[in-house]
Amino acid sequence: MLFVGRHIRKTFGQRRVLDLERFALEPGRIHGLLGPNGAGKTTLLHILSFLDRPTSGTLFYDGQPVDFQSQNQLRRLRREVILVDQHPILFTTSVEANVGYGLKVRGVPKTKRRRLVEQSLELVGMRKFLQARAWRLSGGETQRVALARALACSPRVLCLDEPTASVDVEHQIALERIVQDIHAETGMTIILCTHDQRLAAKLVQNTLYLFDGRASRSLYENVFSGQVLTGEDGVSQCQLGANLSLPVSCDDATHLKISLNPKALELLEGAAEPHPDSRYWPGRITQISDAGKHIRFQVDVGLPINVLYKKATPELDKWWIGRETVLRIPSRAVHIL
């Protein structure tokens, strides 16, 4: 295992934003670190790249516990793990100097450095900005240069925090490719935070899903916040959209986050005989996409909800775009986060 965390906690003031009992990240894989805003993804990435220390707990890297007090050890470790920040900052020099920085501090000679810099800029399509003033670049350009800056150092582990957030469509595809290629060629371990489900679906091999600082088993699909209302019959309902509600058994909260397991959901043709354990929401198919062994349907029931079916399932192709359907939500599909 490359990274193992035991009881990793991070507290800011009163608030505990990270609280992971145990996690382990294998080397040579693309790990997805997913979760809603404020889940602690960035915080964890900063710890994994040795830029921040956990408030308590032990982080093992390559089997060795990391001593966050020892600047020497940290410096050595940081040479292996590079973080590309969510809002990366470029130094107030040229793009070339920025991308060459990691190489320069590693003592790479000038000519070789120049070649490597040009190569990585070429990769992200920013070659012609070599001499531009880095701190004046546009949002997406900045993000791409920051990625190039990390790639130039060929680290062992690359932590990417929302690498495509402001990147244009063309380069989103390109970056996806780059990450895939580099991973395939060099076996670099990649830890990726993203809210882009397509990117995650395409790249991620292992997923660590964070919710409220804790690891969660959800698949980070179909996550919605809802308001808990207790009806006259004493049954609590979680109100999701305008007229969607689910019965929930937890009644001490007024607000809940709920996730619906996309593999446990079912598409029905018209109203079937109602099962007391299920909810039935009418909707329309809006998107069908390839999800490896599965096919993902997006059903618009007021909220867009993803449903996964095994590709082998018979008669799937009747669910064409625009087709009316009834979504069956068995209670076992509902997870309260």
Partner: protein, 231 residues
Amino acid sequence: MQFFLDSLRSAFLLIREMDPELLTIVGVSLKVSMSSTALAALFGIPVGFAVAMARFPGRRGVITVFNTLLAVPTVVIGLFVYTFISRRGILGSLDLLYTQKAIIIGQTLLVLPIVATFTISALSRIDTRYRKAALTLGANTWQTAVLVLREARYGIGAAVVAAFGRAIAEIGVAMMLGGNARGFTRTMTTAMALEYDKGEFVLAVALGVVLLSISLAVNIILNLCQGRLEK
């Protein structure tokens, strides 16, 4: 108003005639204040950096102490250094008192807190992301420091300029430790103080005008250097 015109014209005369005594005085002033500014920068910037970047208990206390040291009167510094370097002091055998070196020592102590405090203030405004970016790219402590200081270069430049201004304009230390010996340790300011004591106000202000012209020249040069850095 007559008085200012007189002073300006006298200043002009002084400069035009290239009065050899004036040249010596200007030379001493520049040498001494530049040396002490350089020394203060050499020690003050790293100290400021350490305080700004480190997170240790009592850090705010240290900053408060530096702020307080901004208010050390020249007499105290003068006497402090005097005690060490006078013939009776520990370093008496070095025969430093009433030399330019003595002024440099005193002025360095005087402007060190200025450099340190404003380095701290300039650095504390620099986004921690610069530091983290350098660290994650593998920079060691020293390389990170260089990078962060580079990002804070305007603030630190301002601190050094202020330190130079303070050093070249100060009288107390130059008087007490240099002794205002004509031809040896007489600086522009001690010369001005002397003329003032004599009641020769015109000459005092004329010297002040010369001093300001010189420090304007120094600042213009610094500014040009900074402009080149910016590119």
